[in-house]
């Protein structure tokens, strides 16, 4: 009997607040009404997707000291909307991005354990760090974390959260009416954690949830990020959308697992991917260019340029050439609250690359930005896209993709109707959910109940 082909994993990202989202399209719906979230979730579920994914942003983005108004602005609270989505879905995983800086472990652990209970085992946590004082202005403790401590804080936050999740091993609740024993033992939920970041102890008040805790996602591309994922995550939400870069990343990250006592199937690589579908590949290419024009207006192009140049460029014509002047060195201040600006590690080199590219192709600012800020990952007919996705997965360039539609909430409909059936026919994507928890969809073994720690009772 031949081994079944490696299975593809698919997820849906509710896009919202990036320029990926084309809000000007007449088909674009609300980015805040619950009906939009429910619609996308139901589409993903009827297509048998593994999960729905939400990003996070805790301060409205600004540029040049003003709130950024070109993209979608406004989003719901992640935990609250995922809990509501648990009511309109049955199998779909519910993955939320929650940062480890402007939160406390006891509260976050309660919320994820609760979400896992209320969804019967479908919760996932994309652990991210944020450290900036800009976002910190919304919180009691302000922007207190030095940038180089962000991974340490995230690691210890996650470790502490697991101590809370594991403080109930399961089986504590007897609910035995006859004997009168609600609990099997008195000392439930006991925990203590003491380090430079967290000095907390006591009793956790949420019983062990169906998965034992949320599935853990992480999104680091740096060496430290890859190590963090290899040691602590179930899935890594980042990756590279070319085949060769994808294979290199995959091999590198999976290659780190053995050192942590883990096997390759215990960490899934699931990059985000955008797509443009049409009846034929040629039509899709044309449509893709149209979408890029919609995503990158002249104003958006100038804004992207400013994010690299770190200075006001509002005097430049988006249909004209790139600036001759160099980027402004020093602390990045033009754009605040945006993760992508931190990716420009060497602004001078990047500016030179962009100038060279523009010169070579005789590209205007707008055309250049369209070129360098991410073409769609998959462009083509349903068969082409299905084939490409499958090739990536079979070639070990990823374990699947988190798809980001550019029209909300209906932008996944056509993919669900035309691409998914092809993958199902080829036997590389599920035709029905086999399991009911997200861990089961991702092929992850159940998480063992934590070992009971000999926790000394803190003197109160």
């Amino acid at each position: 009997m031949s081994k079944p082909a490696k299975q593809v994993h698919l997820a849906a990202h509710f896009p919202g607040v990036n320029n990926t989202t084309v809000w000007s399209d007449p088909r674009a719906g609300s980015h805040i009404d619950f009906s939009s979230f429910a619609y996308l979730a139901r589409t993903a579920e009827r297509a048998k997707f593994d999960f729905l994914f939400l990003a996070e942003g805790l301060r409205l983005r600004e540029q040049n000291g003003k709130i950024y108004d070109l993209d979608v602005v406004g989003r719901p609270d992640t935990f609250t909307v995922l809990a509501a989505l648990a009511a309109v879905t049955d199998r779909l995983g519910l993955a939320g991005t929650i940062n480890s800086t402007f939160n406390e472990p006891y509260e976050v652990a309660r919320q994820f354990a609760t979400l896992d209970h209320l969804s019967a085992g479908r919760a996932a946590w994309n652990v991210v760090t944020s450290w900036d004082a800009f976002t910190g202005e919304n919180f009691r403790r302000g922007g207190f974390l030095p940038q180089d401590q962000r991974y340490e804080r995230a690691k210890t936050f996650l470790r502490t959260a697991w101590e809370l999740f594991d403080s109930w091993q399961g089986g504590e609740i007897l609910a035995d009416r006859d004997s009168g024993m609600f609990l099997a033992e008195a000392d439930v939920g006991r925990f203590a954690h003491h380090d430079t970041h967290f000095e907390i102890a006591g009793r956790f008040n949420v019983p062990r949830s169906p998965q034992g805790g949320p599935v853990i996602f992480q999104a680091g591309d740096s060496d430290e990020g890859r190590e963090f994922a290899a040691s602590s995550a179930d899935a890594i939400f980042s990756g590279h959308s070319t085949l060769e870069a994808g294979k290199a990343f995959y091999a590198d990250v999976k290659g780190r697992l053995a050192r942590h006592g883990r096997s390759p199937d215990q960490l899934l690589i699931l990059p985000a991917a955008t797509f443009v579908l049409a009846d034929t590949d040629a039509e899709a290419r044309d449509l893709a260019h149209e979408v890029r024009l919609q995503q990158v207006s002249g104003a958006t192009a100038i804004a992207f340029l400013e994010q690299l140049w770190n200075r006001d460029l509002s005097g430049y014509d988006p249909d004209g050439p790139l600036p001759e002047i160099d980027p402004d060195p020093g602390e990045h201040t033009i754009a605040r609250g945006r993760a992508s600006v931190r990716m420009h590690r060497d602004p001078f080199a990047t500016a030179n690359e962009w100038r060279a590219k523009a010169a070579a192709g005789n590209l205007s600012i707008r055309e250049l930005i369209i070129e360098v800020t991410g073409r769609q990952s998959f462009i083509g007919s349903p068969a082409t896209i299905a084939t490409t996705i499958n090739e990536f997965v079979q070639a070990d360039a990823s374990d699947g993709f988190i798809l980001v539609p550019h029209i909300t909430p209906g932008g996944l409909d056509e993919f669900a109707d035309t691409v998914v059936p092809i993958l199902q026919e080829r036997g590389v994507f599920r035709a029905e959910y086999q399991g009911s928890t997200l861990r089961q969809h991702l092929g992850l073994a159940p998480r063992a109940a934590g070992r009971r720690r000999a926790v000394a009772r803190a003197a109160s």
Partner: protein, 398 residues
Amino acid sequence: MPTPGLPVHIAVALEGAGWHPAAWREPGARPAELFAARYWAGLAGEAERGLLDFVTFEDSLSLQSADPAGPDERTDQVRGRLDAVLTAARVAPLTRNIGLIPAVTVTHTEPFHISKAIATLDYVSTGRAGLRVQVSARRDEAAHFGRRSFPRVRPGDPAAARLARDLFDEAADYVEVTRRLWDSWEDDAEIREVATGRFIDRDKLHYVDFERRWFSVKGPSITPRPPQGQPVVTALAHGSEAYRLVGRVTDLGYVTPRDARHAHDIVTEIRDAQAAAGRAAETVHVFGDLLVFLDRDAVTAAARKARLDERAGAEHASDALAFTGTPPQLADLLQDWQRAGLSGFRLRPAAIPHDLTQITRGLVPELQQRGAFRRAYEAATLRGLLGLPRPANRYALA
């Protein structure tokens, strides 16, 4: 003062298997399902069939305990709970008209997070959200966060009074900044103006610039203005500091009078606090909290309470008056206390589902016959059900 026959508001306080500690052992109880969504969806559905104004969801940042100062070692009572905001959100899409009010501990949470969470609850329920703000002086809860600590105080100490004042002052600030964050987006901030490429009119978003003793918050919220404009802010009040909080900053206070006279005195104190805060023209509801043991006849009700107390090992002590009797007898008391100045009641069912269904299928029809309760939901939002207008945005007036 409301005249009898005028409509009264009825809410139910949902808590585990019921408010009596032995309720989980009752024949109809479902103690093994307390952490399952279907349990809470079922209770909310029953409450909605009874046309109740809203349900509240209890919560805390520590295990339930028979000891008010910290955890106990009991195994014979319900221990463990789900986060109330998420439970409310989970049942929101499965209900249409009933209000949903989770409890939130303001002492250890971020107002920025809670304001967007309740705003989102308002979105997922299309305008039926509220919150019950509570404070915590418990040393064990503070130790779960490690950010602040509280002194050991005995009731009656001057230190206890100072601590209560500080906690309630902080709660008042928390409500103020939460309300500002709800208003930080004007209703028409989202413009989707294709010609100028602007999704929002940034002039309709406002920094809240709140800087006070316990926290500072810049804003705006990341979440647009909730459908109700301002979700309903409520608080449970047992004494002067809390009555002041109710009068100063909430839309609704739950109080625990011993009798009609006491109810009247509490309402007076709250109205005074309301006036002192310049809110005399606003509606601030005062609801009476009652723990209810309801049956078809008073003897059965009393016997059930006695059995529950015996099972628990002691007569159950509550901050709220315990009513034992029939739905018509309860209706008599409610109307009597309504004449004393209360506009509604939050009933705590001693046993769930028994006392909940006694309320929805016994008390409600009784009140309807007296012309004192709705026969159909008359408004689509919780503010609407409570007769609270949708407020203008404070920043839009500027």
